[in-house]
């Protein structure tokens, strides 16, 4: 079976200048990333800000050309497809629905736009499909007449999901889809995304900094650090026995609602990762609490991790 998303040796470099006279710096945002997502499954991608997870998403969506490597979506190279075909295949849902919905158009017009852009649907067909998808995401026809500002955050995210699904894509890239929402609404949206995936057979790439959310939705999880996937495995295996010290630290930093346990000392130190200045050896070594001499000059190889994962650490 063809994987829904197949990424091979993907790399993305930016050249930036920090000042008028400053030397040009090379920022490696994504570095040699390889994975595949089977159709109908959910790959969760976690990591701190600046780890390259959103850059990865933009390359998979075809919004950003990789410096090297390939992206196959449903077995096809995105850059061989025109925009219309790409839109029918893969769609994004972003973090802040207020920023991603045109504030001057009604919700039903916003949701209809992808259909109109295809130029292949009659007005009646467009209305029928828009009505259907709004109902499917839990928005009434009356909501469709409103402007984005008249909706709550959760309703706006439902509208963004409706717009993403109206062309019946196979694959949806969710980039922090619930981070701007309240917990009670977050749960509604996560449940909706889970229902839609099951009923429509969708594949998700689900990017989040919230590990608890990722554990809830993902079948497989990839942990990114400074542009590389440092560990990837089936969700249960990764959460039960994290192999990489960074994964362990991330898991420990999740504050579960258990009173009396205090805030853990995750021992990552004060050095923040900087993608324009990647340390030699293992890129995590300056923050790693178990690093040894070898980690400072030799980059770890990719090692197999059962049941079907990988990890990049000398000590795992």
């Amino acid at each position: 079976m063809t994987a829904a998303i197949e990424v091979k040796n993907l790399r993305c470099e930016f050249r930036v200048r920090t000042g008028l006279m400053a030397a040009e710096k090379r920022v490696i945002a994504v570095d040699d990333v390889t994975f595949s997502v089977p159709a109908g499954s959910v790959l969760g991608v976690v990591g701190e800000s600046g780890c390259g997870k959103s850059t990865l998403a933009r390359m998979i969506l075809g919004l950003l050309k990789p410096t090297a490597g390939t992206v196959l979506v449903d077995g096809k190279r995105l850059f061989d497809l025109d925009r219309k075909a790409r839109a029918r295949l893969i769609q994004p849902v972003f973090q802040d629905p207020f920023a991603s919905l045109n504030p001057r158009r009604r919700i039903k017009d916003i949701v209809a736009l992808p259909l109109e852009a295809q130029g292949a649907f009659s007005r009646a067909e467009i209305d029928r499909r828009v009505g259907g998808i709004l109902e499917r995401v839990g928005l009434s026809a009356a909501m469709g007449e409103r402007m984005p500002a008249q909706l709550s955050g959760g309703q706006r995210q439902r509208a963004a999901i409706a717009r993403a699904l109206v062309l019946e894509p196979r694959i949806v890239i969710c980039d922090e889809p619930t981070s701007a929402l309240d917990v009670s609404v977050q749960a509604q949206i996560l449940n909706l995304l889970a229902d839609l995936r099951r009923d429509l057979g969708l594949t998700y790439l689900f990017i989040s900094h919230n590990l608890a959310v990722v554990e809830h939705v993902a079948s497989e999880v990839a942990v990114m650090y400074l542009g590389r996937i440092v560990e990837r495995n089936e969700t249960d295996a990764l959460f039960r026995a994290p192999a990489h010290p960074y994964t362990q630290a991330l898991l420990e930093s999740v504050l579960t609602p258990e009173p009396g346990r205090g805030v853990p000392d995750i021992g990552l130190g004060d050095i923040m990762p900087d993608p324009s200045n990647i340390p030699p050896g293992c890129r995590f070594n300056p923050r790693c609490r178990i690093a040894v001499e070898r980690c400072r000059h030799e980059a770890p190889a990719r090692m197999v991790r059962p049941p079907q994962g990988m990890v990049e650490c000398h000590l795992a």
Partner: protein, 325 residues
């Protein structure tokens, strides 16, 4: 325990919109008190009302609002300004917007001290450097000469905390101090706040939407919904025996790592927070509550349950244990 900050029946309105409707909470000396709730519940507005920092058009009134024995409602703007940043300090969610981008860290920190306590700028800079070291900023001497944009988000929040400590405040009001930060940095900042509380005997009013943070750092909790404190309790008690249906609903929404059942939906609260207009009566949660009946449209009693635990609901204490699972 004596209360450092006592707020009774606080009302805040903006025009015809009631943002806070009779909220009462107290922060004891040396404790961390959490105001928890979702966006728009009035938790930030309550804190701003205490500091007298409400946006233009905001009206506040309270039966009682006292800080270390001083009646805050009777203070003039000038007297209040002397208290703010001095004996009570505040830190906000996004440190980038609360720091002035055009001044160095050092000059912004020094100004706090020279304005409130006088003294030389050099002495103030020394104090700033000392506190920066105290909040875990390496090479404070270099940082003093830097501008806010040259610092990472975690460092900026540490600077805000150091700045808040410049005048040795008794009360620190922290409004979502870690929401804009990565989880790894969040843990560091929360540990820092806990150690400052121990060392400086600081009292903290922490505003958050995150029940994980509440569980780990709070001594007491007030749960807010639609401008009211619907339940308050010591932290362990709140998580062990939550009574208000809203508190129970919120707790069921939080996915707990290691206890996830992926095939089952998360608990969620249907609907959205209603708009509260003038003349609203009864329970504001009733439109989203599975246990609501016609009595919920009338005045709701505050039910005591043990020492420091009470809640606003028609249901009797212990009702949840009688429910079929």
């Amino acid at each position: 325990m004596s209360a450092l900050l006592e707020v009774e029946e606080l009302q805040v309105s903006f025009g015809r919109t009631a943002a806070v409707r009779g909220a009462s909470f107290r922060v004891a000396k040396g404790e961390t008190h959490c105001l928890v709730g979702e966006s728009g519940c009035g938790k930030s507005v309550s804190a701003l009302a205490v500091m007298n920092l409400l946006a233009r058009g905001g009206q506040r009134s309270a039966k009682r609002m006292s800080f270390a024995g001083t009646d805050l409602t009777s203070l003039s703007d000038r007297e209040m300004a002397r208290l703010r940043g001095n004996r009570m300090a505040m830190i906000f969610q996004e440190p980038m917007t609360s720091l002035n981008p055009a001044f160095t860290i050092g000059s912004q920190m020094a100004e706090v001290l020279t304005r409130h306590k006088g003294g030389s700028r050099a002495a103030a800079l020394d104090r700033a450097a000392e506190l920066m070291g105290r909040v875990g900023i390496t090479a404070p001497g270099m940082r003093l000469g830097q501008f806010p944009h040259q610092l990472s988000g975690g460092l900026r929040q540490r600077v805000m905390i150091a700045m808040a400590l410049m005048c040795d405040p008794e009360l620190l009001i922290a409004d979502e101090p870690t929401t804009a930060l990565d989880v790894t940095v969040q843990a560091q900042i929360l540990r820092l706040l806990a150690s400052l509380k121990r060392e400086f005997g600081l009292s903290i009013l922490l505003i958050t939407h995150d029940l994980g943070i509440v569980a780990r750092v709070a001594d007491h909790v007030s749960v807010m919904y639609a401008g009211e404190v619907v339940e308050r309790a010591p932290t362990a008690e709140l998580f062990r025996a939550p009574q208000h249906p809203y508190t129970r609903g919120l707790l069921s929404c939080v996915p707990v790592p290691g206890r996830v059942q992926r095939d089952k939906p998360l608990g969620s609260i249907p609907g959205i927070v209603p708009a509260i207009g003038a003349g609203f009566a009864g329970c504001a949660f009733r439109s989203r509550c599975a246990h609501a009946n016609e009595t919920c449209t009338r005045a709701i009693p505050r039910r005591p349950m043990g020492d420091a635990h009470d809640y606003l609901c028609r249901l009797e204490p212990g009702w949840a244990e009688l429910q079929p699972a």
